[in-house]
């Protein structure tokens, strides 16, 4: 039988990925608390970046209001646990459902009349800001005072997803691994091919019989639901949530920095980008605090974004891959060369 999708037999990327995750697991086992908490955030934003990447990098739909979905996930988990003592597992499911429905509804609203591209992107920010302001004034969800989870314990309770910093590190690691493997599987599946076709040329995809309207709604709903899972875990890690930080513009920007810097539409881009950008942000914040200059981290982020889009438009990861291939060339000399077609 003809091999269905080319490339799926190549196990080297999987091996490399596995090695990366063994290393990251060792970091979790050995590192000091500061590094662990920093890496937890890096891994969570890897996952969130992966969800955003699915929408733009594969589905071709730009969202600059991803904080809406992250926030819905975070609030679902927080409200259920803080108000009713219900396990975050249920909260995560509720968050996925809510964010997925909101995402699908937004997509339906917008694509119904062929409103797309920037209009859709602007609609996502408007929806996110609307939700943020609503949540800031809604007493039931804590309004501006936010919601606080019960104090963390050292005993690990898996049913309540409660534990120490190291526990959350491994939760975030599992999530990031899930996100990367999931994206890879999706992008190699039928859906991945359909979505990329739709991203590259929507009319051509439609001419080939792809129901692009449904597929756009589907990719946005899936992206939104996964973002909600990341948001729920982020809320648990932080121990408290406030509308401005979990639903604000700033979070939407944080979510997209990883995949943009690392490489749009690539599987490892969000991880590489988050690894590069988040420690830089922490460093610059700390530097700004110690020098009493607020705003240094904003400048650093801004400069990095502009420079990356200017000089490395596909991001760091594809550039790294090109570099590795260039270095590998000599070792490939002895491999059997493909025979020339004409002779």
């Amino acid at each position: 039988m003809q091999k269905r999708f080319e490339g799926s037999a190549d196990i080297r990327p999987w091996l490399a990925g596995a090695m990366v995750f063994v290393t990251l697991a060792l970091v979790g086992a050995l590192a000091n608390p500061y590094l662990i908490s920093l890496m937890t955030i890096v891994l969570l934003f890897t996952f969130l970046g992966q969800s955003w990447n699915l929408m733009l990098g594969i589905g071709g739909q730009l969202s600059i209001g991803h904080a809406l979905f992250v926030g819905l996930g975070a609030y679902s988990v927080a409200v259920l646990e803080v108000k009713y003592g219900i396990s975050p597992w249920i909260g995560l499911l509720l968050g996925m459902f809510l964010a997925g429905s909101v995402g699908a509804a937004l997509a339906w609203l917008s694509f119904r009349f062929e409103v797309r591209g920037i209009y859709f992107a602007l609609l996502t920010i408007a929806a996110a800001e609307f939700a943020r302001i609503m949540f800031s004034g809604w007493e039931f969800v804590g309004a501006m005072q936010g919601l606080f989870f019960p104090a963390p314990t050292n005993a690990i309770e898996f049913s309540m997803l409660r534990g120490d910093a190291r526990f959350y590190y491994f939760v975030a690691l599992a999530l990031a691994a899930l996100g990367i493997v999931g994206t890879e599987l999706i992008s190699r599946s039928y859906l991945g091919y359909v979505w990329r076709a739709m991203r590259d040329d929507e009319q051509a995809a439609r001419a080939l019989g792809v129901r692009t309207f449904r597929h756009k709604i589907l990719v946005i709903a899936i992206s939104a639901a996964t973002a909600a899972v990341g948001g729920g875990i982020l809320a648990l890690v932080q121990g408290s949530i406030f509308p401005d930080s979990i639903m604000g513009m700033g979070l939407s920007v944080d979510v997209l920095i990883g995949p943009v810097v690392g490489g749009l539409g690539t599987t490892f881009g969000p991880l590489v980008g988050s690894l590069a950008a988040i420690p830089l942000n922490h460093l610059m914040s700390a530097l700004g605090d110690s020098l009493r200059i607020p705003g240094l981290n904003n400048i650093a982020y801004g400069v990095v974004l502009v420079l990356v889009v200017w000089f490395l438009p596909d991001g760091i990861w594809p550039a790294m891959v090109r570099l590795c291939k260039a270095i590998q060339l000599p070792s490939r000399v002895w491999l059997p060369q493909p025979r020339k077609a004409e002779e």
């Binding site: 600059i64 409103v115 200059i293 705003g295 904003n298 974004l305 889009v309």
Partner: protein, 289 residues
């Protein structure tokens, strides 16, 4: 009761004209270059700071401060376009968005580093004067800002409509390739367009400096407000920007009177979502400019 409503309505209309000017800057840039300036709010805030410093250092009237802001921001926009933005004009929209998000972070950071995060009120004599017109009492700062904004919008409209450069600008908006074919200097048109857009934002910022305290974090609100205004009116439409501004200004004022303060900020977004449901491309969503 009637006079209260009239007052609120009037102040909404006045602020709406200024919003219209902000939105006009955004819409000109989009209409001609097909670029969404995500750092537009930062440019408004630059204007607010220019107003603040001009009044503080030289004690000039706000009108003079607005003129200074116009010149400074035009040069700033022109340079920004020629040095940076033009490299991204032909890139996909999401790249442009990311560049502008980067620029907006950079500008906010620069403002924070230079002026610090604390709000600075512009102590203008205007803020304490009012004008009474029968039922309606208007504060002079607002009236002056609105009158200047209205005048500028009219002048800019006439300039784009009748002047030779305005015609080439509209031609470039209509059909870039066609413009190149007939020998328009497209790079210059683009640079001037961006300068004009930035100047609109800067002037609006200087005009409202007596009403809003100068503060770096104000930028996000202005960016979003400008987006909402422009989408409500129709992205890329001249009259749409003006109408959108008036609508948002009045809606905000009425919401502040009828509901809680948080509703006032939420209302523009609610309005936007409703309008996108019924008129997905805004009121004047066409390519006209």
């Amino acid at each position: 009761m009637l006079s209260l409503w009239l007052n609120v309505l009037a102040s909404g209309v006045l602020l709406g004209l200024v919003y219209g000017l902000v939105a006009l800057g955004l819409t000109i840039i989009f209409g001609v270059m097909r670029v969404v300036n995500f750092a537009h709010g930062e440019m408004v805030v630059f204007g607010v700071y220019i107003g603040y410093w001009a009044v503080r250092l030289w004690d000039v009237p706000i009108i003079v401060a607005a003129a200074i802001a116009a010149v400074v921001m035009f040069v700033f926009g022109y340079l920004l376009e020629t040095l940076l933005v033009k490299r991204f004009v032909n890139r996909p929209h999401h790249y442009q968005f990311i560049v502008f998000i980067g620029l907006s972070l950079l500008f906010t950071g620069a403002l924070l580093v230079t002026f610090g995060p604390d709000p600075r009120p512009t102590a203008s004599q205007l803020s304490f004067h009012t004008v009474s017109l029968g039922f309606v009492t208007l504060d002079l700062a607002r009236l002056q800002a609105a009158a200047t904004a209205g005048l500028l919008i009219t002048l800019l409209g006439a300039y784009l409509k009748f002047s030779s450069f305005g015609r080439s600008l509209r031609a470039a908006a209509d059909n870039r390739l066609g413009g190149l074919v007939v020998g328009l200097n497209i790079p210059r048109v683009y640079a001037v367009t961006f300068g004009l857009g930035a100047a609109c934002a800067g002037v609006a910022g200087a005009l409202i400096s007596p009403l809003f305290d100068a503060q770096p974090y104000l930028a996000v609100d202005f960016t979003l407000l400008a987006f909402v205004t422009v989408i409500v009116g129709g992205l890329g439409s001249f009259s749409g920007a003006l109408l959108g501004g008036l609508l948002i200004g009045v809606a905000e004022a009425i919401a502040a009177l009828m509901f809680t303060p948080s509703m006032k900020t939420a209302l523009p977004y609610a309005l936007l979502i409703i309008i996108l449901i019924f008129r997905p491309r805004g009121f004047f969503g066409a390519k006209e400019i």
